[in-house]
Structures are given as structure tokens and as C-alpha cells.
Subunit: 193 residues, 2 copies
Amino acid sequence: MARPRSFDTEDALEKAMHVFWTHGYEGASLPDLLDGMGLTRGSLYKAFTDKKTLFLKVLERYEGQAVKAGVAMLSDPAVPNGSERIMSLFQGSYQRVVNGDMRGCLLCTAAAGPSTYDDEIARAVSRGLGELRDGIYTALGASPKHATLSTAERAALADMIIAQYVGLRTMARARIDHETLHNIVRSVGVMLG
Amino acid sequence: MARPRSFDTEDALEKAMHVFWTHGYEGASLPDLLDGMGLTRGSLYKAFTDKKTLFLKVLERYEGQAVKAGVAMLSDPAVPNGSERIMSLFQGSYQRVVNGDMRGCLLCTAAAGPSTYDDEIARAVSRGLGELRDGIYTALGASPKHATLSTAERAALADMIIAQYVGLRTMARARIDHETLHNIVRSVGVMLG
DNA sequence: TCCGTTATGGACTGATTGGTTCCTAACTCT
DNA sequence: AGAGTTAGGAACCAATCAGTCCATAACGGA
């Protein structure tokens, strides 16, 4: 019994995600978002409260999409060796750069940016990276070479691999040369055996 | 034959560095810088041209200070084993967090931020990280465990370790819990043997 | 068809952004 | 001491920021 939305909320959120992904939280202006989402101010504020709330929703979406896809990769039963699954994650990140996508990882960019002064964003970043870390932990459990590790050692190793991941993707965003990025992926491969 | 500066340029640059370090490039407003440096607009613009030029000078200073100190650590002849030198770098980064310094690494923050759209900043970031990478490469040369590596393999390993470093410091800035950060350092230690 | 309700879009707000202008102060050199 | 030159500081600038307001449009239910 009222006027319905003329746009699809999920679709708008998807578009907002790409704007934030490209420009970062602070770098994305309201006009940038309005343009990218195809909305006017009234609609955006009615549907998403304000810029920060929109960003938190976008982070949630990223978690349910990009992070979830990564975790799925890391627990893919079709690849029996967990180390190979982890390598797929890194190779995928590198491939994105080769394909011209220099935006890096939205979570990693947020980690260096607004999560410094905003608790809610910090928590969201932490949560997303934590999921990825848990996925890596699981994958390590399916890696013959790491089967003998204690759970504590394996958890610590997963934390280290997440740091490598954050580093790789942050460096990709900084447009570090492809050779260096490739070396990172290659060495992770060597390390995992 | 003219009125001399009433402030010390190096001192002002040092103060500007801390403002940028805390707030990031985009997050540091002109009033923030003016306050932190103890200058008025006229003086700042006369001495440093504009915000971006000031930031580039700050990055240079950071390179000549923080990065140089890291490289010195990595080539410290008093520590014969290069792997131990690398560990000092990571332990130092962790210790900073324990001591309450959550600012991370200025270069790493700049990597995720303005280097995305500004070539000069991207080059400066790249240069600074490159120096650190070269330092790590040198240290690996003084590590018995890595003595047998080919130069290409050693270079690739150095690239990987730099990625770990960027990841660690970025995650520190995002206020990831100490235990995770400690695990990263610990696992780097295990990896280096 | 008309009423109630919500969405839309653009005009508007006040604060803040980085940067400029210009008058005056302070110094050195002759 | 006076001339020449640069630093300092505050007023000022246009542009932009995120966010609000409100008249109107568009719908569902009765």
C-alpha cells in the first residue's frame, strides 16, 4: 500500500561495491556513488541510511561473495591436496592483476583505511579476513605436507598465509610490477611444497 | 638578505610525517597538518608548495629514516645469520603494536591509498618497498639455510617476505588481534628456519 | 476512484576541503 | 639607517563534502 522502489536493492549494492572497490571508502564521493548506482540522493539515503551504513552493507556483500568464493575454493573437495587449493587463491589474485584489475581486495584496502578509526568497519574487516584464515586452516588440514603440524602450528601458519595474501593484494593495488607479484605467488608455492 | 624562516624545515617535516602516518594521506586535512607542524598556511605553502609535494617529501624522509633503519638491521654484520636479521624486522614491527603504536607502516598505508591514482606516490612507495626487499635479499645471502638457493630463487623469496611484511603491518593498522599478529611473526620464524 | 503511504529527485544546507592573496613583520646587506 | 627581499599570518576563495527537506509522483488497498 505504498509506492514501491524503482530499483533493485541488491543490484544497487552490487554497483556500490564496485565504486568503493575502485575508489576506497574515503575516496568514493557521494556523487561517485550516485552515478555508479544510478540513484538520486533521496533514494540512496532512504534505502541505505548514510555512506558508512552503505559501506558496511557493501562489506557484508563482499564477504558473502568474494570471501565466500575464496573459502569455497579453499575447501573444494575436487582438489584433494589443500596446498593446491591455497595456491589457487594466490594464482587467482595474480591473474586478476594480469587481466588488468588493479583494485586489489576491498577488505585489504579498508584495513589500511577507515578501519583505523572506525570500530564497526574494523570488525567487518577482521571478520572477513578471519573467514579466509579459517578457510586456509582447513585447507592446510588437507595438505599431506602439513598433516603432522599441531593445531596451534597450523593455525599460526594460516595466519601467516593470510598476511601474505593481504600483502600481495595491497601491493597489487599499489601497482607493483607484475614480476614481483609473480615471484610472491611462486615463492608461496615453493613454501607450501 | 631576507627574512629567515622562523621554523626548522626538517623539524616541520618530521612533524608532518607523524600526522600523515596517523591519518593517512587523504585523511590528513590541512588544519591537521598546520596544527601538527605548528605553522600557518602561508608558511606551509611557501616552504612545501602543496599537500602532495609535502607528502612526497615526507615519504622521502620516511625512506631515509624508517626504511633505512630497517635496511641497516637487515645488513647488520653483528648478527651473522641473515635469517635472524629478518626476524628482527618482524619482531620489531610486532613490538611496535604491543607498545601501542597501531599506525602500521606509512608506505603500506600509502600503497593501499593514494598510490592507486597517483603515479609519483606509487613510484615512491615502490622505491621504498624495493629498498626493503633488497635488504631482505642481502640478508638471505647471509643465511646458511638459504645459501644454496639460486639468485632468482632468493630474489623471489625476498619478494614473498616483503609481501608478508606489508600484510603484517597493514593488519596491525586494522587492529587485528595481537595473537594473530604474533602468530604471523612466529610462523615467519619457523619458515626461515 | 480516491485515500494513505512511501519513493523520488532536486534544491538547499552548513561545514570543510585545498589553495590564494596580500599586507605586514623581520631579517641581511650595503 | 635604509633598501631589498622573503617569511608570516589571517582573511578570503571557489569547490566539494555528506546529509536534509519537501513538493510531487507512483503505487496498493478499499
